[in-house]
Every structure is written in C-alpha cells, then in structure tokens.
Symmetry: C2
Subunit: 389 residues, 2 copies
C-alpha cells in the first residue's frame, strides 16, 4: 500500500462543548442529536417518505404556505441559494439583487455563473430597502426575479418583505427571499406576502445541524421553471426532480438522489419542537431576548451597528467595536475563557463589528446574560491590557 493509513485517525476525535452564540450554526437540543442515533432507512422506504412528509408539513407551517412544492435541497444554506438561482434563471434573464451585505454579493456571484443579466442596487451594510426604492428599481430594470435577503447576517439588518410581493406581481416579477438567518426568529408569511421562492438553513433558528436547505416554490415560480427553454443546469438541485422525490407533484416518487437520512430525522425532530412551541411564541422569544441583549449592551456603553431598532433582525445583533478596542481579543476572550462563540464581522462588516446570534435553542435570557457578563469582563480586561501598554 503506497499510502499508509494515517496516524491521526488512531486517536479519538476531539470535540469540545461550546456555546455557539455567533451567527450560526447554533447548538442543537439533545432530542435533535438523539434522532440521529436512529437506524438508517432506505431513501425510498415508506417509513422514510412518511418522515419526509412530516418534515414537509413542518416546513409549510414555518414558511406559512400551502404551496405544493416545499422540500429540502440536500446541502447546506448556500445550496438553497444555488437552487434558487439555477432553477429560476436562464441565460440573459434579468435578476435584480438588493445588496446590503455579503448575501447579496454571493447571490450576484451565483446568478452571474448562470449567465443571468445581474443588476444590483446597493446600500451600505446595515441599511435596508424601502418599497418606493424597490419599485423604482423594478421599473428601471424590469427584472424576471427580485432577490432580497430578509436577515442579512453580515450586518444584522432586517429587510421588510411585507408589501414587496404585490409590487412584484404588478411588474410581473418573481420574488425570491433568502431567509437563512431570519426564518423562525421573525414573522414570515410566504403566501400572504406573495413570496415566490424562499429558502433557509437547518442550523439557525430551526436548531438542527447544518445539512439541508429547506425551500419552497410558489405556483408562479414553478410555472417559470416549467416554461424554461434551457434545461436546469443542476440535476442535483433541479426542483422538478426534488419536488417529485419529496412527494410534491402528485406523481409516484422516483429515485432522484439518496436523501441524507439521518439529517432528515434531525430536521424532523427540530421541526416538531418548533411546532410544539408555536411560531408566535418563537417570534416573541427572539424579540424579547434581542431586546434584553440590546438593553444590556447599551448599559455597557456599547453602540449597536444599526441604530434604528426596527431595522434589526433579532437573530443577529451587530455591535460596533469601540475605538481602540481589538475586536479579536474580545472574541478570543469569549472562546478561551468560556468556550462561548461570538463572531467578528463578515464581508462589508469585517473588522467593524461583533456579531451575536440569538437563534432557536440558544435564544434564552440566560444565554443573553452570559454574553453580557463575558462582554463586560472582556472589555474590562482589554482596558487593563491597553492601560498596561
């Protein structure tokens, strides 16, 4: 054997316990981990397709939709974004991307790989788009698709979606929404709001491990897919195949790909917890914890990156790094002393902010208080260190 077995796999795997209070993944509750102890089933066994059906019902509740096509891409959140782009866009289709952070940038990257005609309207990180601004852009660019990010995790901004759907319908545009970092933490009504495609990730508010990208397509979105002139470039993310595998199209399930069986179990259990709590309670819990965090940060003389509370997603709080403070020393203090993760910025917010996530299982007042306590210590520590220099 010219390549011997590696030494590193002879030692036990080392996985420390951490409290993940960054912008995701968040921790999963024990029930969700335990679901993955259950034995594997075949990807088309009736007991497994039953579980897929249950997941689908849970997702219909979470997305607030009666749409037929509600399923999961068997990949993490980015796979949901890619599925949106590769199914909706044909070469030269115009897509309008409202960009105020990294997700709009990634969406533009993906759309351009599909040879779409990518038009971008930009705002600085932390800002959001108003209805009149969106309408002006729709009029100007006449896109086939408008792409918005509900919770921009790089800045902490919450983009209002209410009101955009009717505008899109007026201009014959499909509305696609990235709800990875927001869904379950804030209200979302796919049908009432007129959203045509929405996707999320399992590892945020849902609190399952990162593994799948739940996604829903409206009838209007499916009509565009079915009217395509060119084939969908991806077989794996082809929504017509996925919809069949997930039992959404009324036809017998065909073998598309092997579903990630254990991950589907975990998602099923996580959704059962979401449904047992109820969306109203989940939203209220996120709002209350975010308020407690924001109040506590203000009491520490810290400033939030987004000054208008209405523009903040409760799921990701961005905090300005005060002048003279080394942001990385603070995140290291959190991790090294307490094994608690908070993050620095990302993309346009890199170096400017800390990001604290409050998502699903981790969104509790105890965790908020712990973050505040450590933040105070870390800043005190740093001022001591600074004064020593």
């Amino acid at each position: 054997m010219s390549i011997p077995p590696p030494e590193c796999l002879k030692s036990p795997m080392h996985v420390p316990s951490k409290l993940l209070m960054g912008p995701g993944p968040s921790n999963s509750p024990p029930q969700v981990h335990q679901a993955m102890l259950k034995p594997l089933l075949g990807h088309l066994h009736p007991e497994f397709t039953q579980i897929m059906d249950e997941v689908k019902e849970g997702l219909r509740y979470l997305f607030q939709t009666k749409s037929d096509v509600v399923c999961c891409v068997s990949g993490t959140g980015h796979a949901g974004m890619e599925a949106t782009m590769c199914n909706l866009l044909e070469p030269n289709d115009v897509i309008l991307i409202a960009q105020n952070g990294i997700w709009g940038e990634r969406a533009a990257d993906m759309a351009s790989r599909h040879e779409a005609d990518v038009r971008v309207i930009k705002k600085p990180a932390g800002e959001i788009f108003q209805l009149d601004e969106l309408e002006a852009a729709l009029k100007e660019h006449r896109p086939a698709v408008l792409f918005l990010v509900q919770g921009e995790s790089s800045s902490g901004a919450l983009q209002p979606i209410y009101g955009v759907g009717p505008l899109c319908q007026k201009y014959g545009v499909l509305l696609a929404v990235d709800a990875v970092a927001s869904l379950g933490g804030v209200p979302f009504f796919m049908d009432q709001w007129g959203v045509d495609v929405v996707y999320t990730g399992t590892q945020k508010v849902i609190s399952a491990p990162p593994s799948m990208a739940p996604i829903a397509f409206s009838d209007r979105a499916m009509a565009k897919v079915r009217a395509r002139k060119k084939p969908i470039r991806s077989f794996y993310a082809d929504i017509t195949w996925l919809a069949n595998y997930w039992g959404c199209d009324g036809s017998p399930r065909k073998y598309h790909h092997t579903g990630p069986v254990s991950s589907v179990y975990a998602l099923r259990e996580a959704l059962s917890l979401v449904c047992a709590e109820g969306l109203e309670s989940l939203w209220a819990r996120h709002a209350a914890c975010a308020q407690r965090l924001h109040d506590g940060l203000t009491a520490l003389n810290l400033q939030l990156f987004i000054s208008d509370p209405a523009k903040r997603t409760p799921t990701v709080t961005t905090i300005k790094v005060p002048e003279g403070v080394d942001w990385m020393k603070v995140t290291k203090y959190f991790m090294n002393k307490y094994r608690v993760e908070i993050s620095g910025g990302l993309g346009p917010s890199a170096g400017l902010v800390w990001r604290v996530g409050l998502m699903g299982y981790n969104c509790t007042s105890d965790n908020v208080d712990l973050v505040l306590k450590i933040m105070k210590e870390a800043l005190d520590q740093q001022s001591i260190i600074t004064s020593k220099l």
Copy 2:
C-alpha cells in the same frame, strides 16, 4: 396563523430497525451514529478544521492518493457526480461516457446540462469495457474527459480501471471515475492508476449515513479547472472554493459554505474504522463474503446476472429472477418477515434481477447466511403460493 402547526409532528417519529442489504445505504456502526451526538462546532473553528484534516487523510488512504485536492462535496453521491461534471466541463467540451447502466445515463444527463458534447459508448447492463474498445473510442471521439463507473450498482458490473489511465494520458484525456458503489470494497489506486477525478458516497462501504460525496482531483484535473474560460456554473460545488475550505490549496481557509458538521464527525469515525481494519482486509472481507453469497445462491439453483466472476463487483450482487417468480413478492417477504432489505433492479436491470449489497459494516458472513436463508424461504413460499394458483 393561517397555516396551523401540523398534527403529524405531535407524534413521536417512527423509525423501525432494518438490515439494509440492498445497494445502499448500508447500516452504520454504533460508533458512527454516536459521533453525531457530539456537540456542534462552528464550520471554521480550529477543532473542526482539524477533524476535516483528519477526514482528508482518511480519504487519501481510501483513494490511495497523495493529491492535494481531496475533500467532500456537502451533498450525497449524486453531488459528487455533479461536481465532477460542472468543474471539468465547459460548453462544447467532448466527454466520452462508457455507459452500461444507470450511472452512465445520469452522467450523460448531467454533462448535457452543462452543454458538453456528450458521446456515449454503450454496452448492455452487466457487460464491461475492454481496454482496446476504450482506446478505439478515445481515438474516434478525442474527448477532453472519459467517464467510467467502477461499480455499476444497477447491474453489479465491475469495470476494470487499471490500464485506462495510461491510455488517457496518451490521448490527453482526463479520466473521471464514479466509485460510489465500489470504493473500499475492491482495490482502487488513484495515483498508480492515473485517475484524475474520483468520487464516492459516505453511505456505501464507508458505512456513514448518506450526507457527503468524498472527491479527489489530480493536478492534471485541477489544471483544466484553472484554465477554464467560463466560470464553474456551481458556486457550491466549485472545486477551487471547496479545496480552499478543506485546506487543500495552501491558502488560509475562507468561508465558502457551512459544512455539515455532524456528518463530518460521522464520516471521521467511519474512516477511522476503515483505517483501523486496513484496505487489504476490507477488500478481502468483501471478496470472501461475495464468494460465500455467490456459492450459496448457486446452491439454491439461482443464477447470477453476471456469469463471469471477474466482472462482478463484490459490493452489489445481481441475481436473475427465475422465470415464473414474482420478484417483488420476494423482496416483500424479506422486508415484511425479517425487516431485511434486498432490492429489485434499477434502470436497465429493473424487473430482471434482485440486488444484494455487501458493503462495509453489513458485509459479514452472518448477514450473507441470513440473506441466503431468507431467500430460500421466500422462494419456497412463492412456489407454494404459485402451486396454489
């Protein structure tokens, strides 16, 4: 709330224990399930990238390669096929696909979605391609890529790969191999055999849950990727990004996508078991169990679909359904009475064969004997039923 929480998620999830002796997924050992109990880490935490590095070393052993670019696509086996196509092919690139079952068909589907010039050489299910036939086709079609399936799970055929690499190098062709249903069960030497891209799935011989597609690219393959004129259509499967995230390119890891953390833990533990056993032992175990199964089936007067033992992959045995026997009644007997899965055919072998998988954790003489015992009962049962009609 116009969509109420679904009733179905109020009941506990129902997952029966089954012995999966079909062509995959196969069962995972307890250690592998237990790995998924470990707490989540961030997708770029040093403890997690350490585990990714360990997975990479395990995969280098399994693929028998020193290549830098060894990683996983965060999707199941089909995602590996798609990553191969979308990275290697540009519009109008000629790809030659040796098609003797469903995987060659799917590969042709995927390649054509990428607007490649797809040339197919066909053989009936169960047949394999000889070196002189491949050379003649390379001469005729002058492809950029030759695609072979080592273990064609729809027919049970084992395509020899040895000798194809030098041919491909002679004609300036990249050699891509699907080893989903074979890797670990039969010898495979990426470097020695001159394979340029190889991928597999986690749920076959590796015996982890379906979740990821381990994949390796040679330097020659990466050179083609880097010389592309058009961007790789998929961001999610872009091997240059994946290679960076998996620490294969010597640059600091950037945030590409959120890796499926728990699935990586499971794969790490499964690979540690593979490495502890050693490839020679693993190959010998598969060969011995397959021999035991084939002998036992012959003793039951059943015929194997592939008559030449050298052309059979030990991982998937295809058995001719005798005339007058209802194949589905037999598979139902296995499942209903014993909760053991064996499968019918797939694609070109549908209705003609049963398929029995011997993969990794499930590849034991006890399981072989159990399958033989049930098969005898099922056939006896059916002849009784048949004689009653």
